[in-house]
Subunit: 117 residues, 2 copies
């Protein structure tokens, strides 16, 4: 399984509208991307703080999409890239850090699964 | 639900032993932290690349722990902090970026849940 991570750096003076992001942008993104049969899930988080108490988080927000493969994500995303990227100025002026990841361990309380084994 | 993210920046010349990390360090971490009743799950990923094809990932590895609250994580982690942090030199010389996050959306294929609603 692969994870596509979209990280929004927490820079001074940046704009990030969580209401629009959670209530409009992400539902649209999920509707578009979950139409692909190899879509596996999504997680969206708001940064609260860093490891040192009272320190700011490195990222104001993170979004992680799960797909069976990177190719599946690209097949799901590319037809909607203009629409989804065009919606970004409606909630932020931050240029996100994006990276593709191989999921090595994924476990919920009570189990431990190793997707690649 | 809260997510504790541990991100290992992908700097030139850095050392990261995935075999030790996945086969020794993470099983130890999960054993220690999952003993807490408010542990909810964990995900571990290896960075494959950035958004631009052929570009390196910003982070060589990421680890995300899910707990009901930040206080629950700290209660689970602090008694084992010396042991777990003391094991880090066995797999890396990278100083990780750590941040606490509020989980706003968590969904798997076929559902959409909003933990805070």
């Amino acid at each position: 399984m692969k994870k596509i991570s979209i990280l929004y750096p927490n820079r001074a003076g940046a704009r990030f509208d969580f209401a629009y992001y959670v209530d409009s942008h992400m539902p649209l993104s999920i509707e578009r991307l979950s139409a692909h049969p190899e879509y596996r899930g999504v997680s969206v988080e708001r940064g609260l703080g860093g490891a040192v108490p009272g320190s700011p988080p490195a990222y104001v927000a993170m979004c992680h999409f799960l797909f069976e493969s990177v190719e599946d994500f690209l097949a799901a995303f590319m037809p909607h890239a203009a629409e989804l990227q065009g919606d970004m100025p409606n909630y932020t002026d931050i240029e996100p850090v994006i990276q593709f990841n191989d999921v090595l361990i994924s476990a919920q309380a009570g189990d431990l699964t190793r997707p690649d084994q």
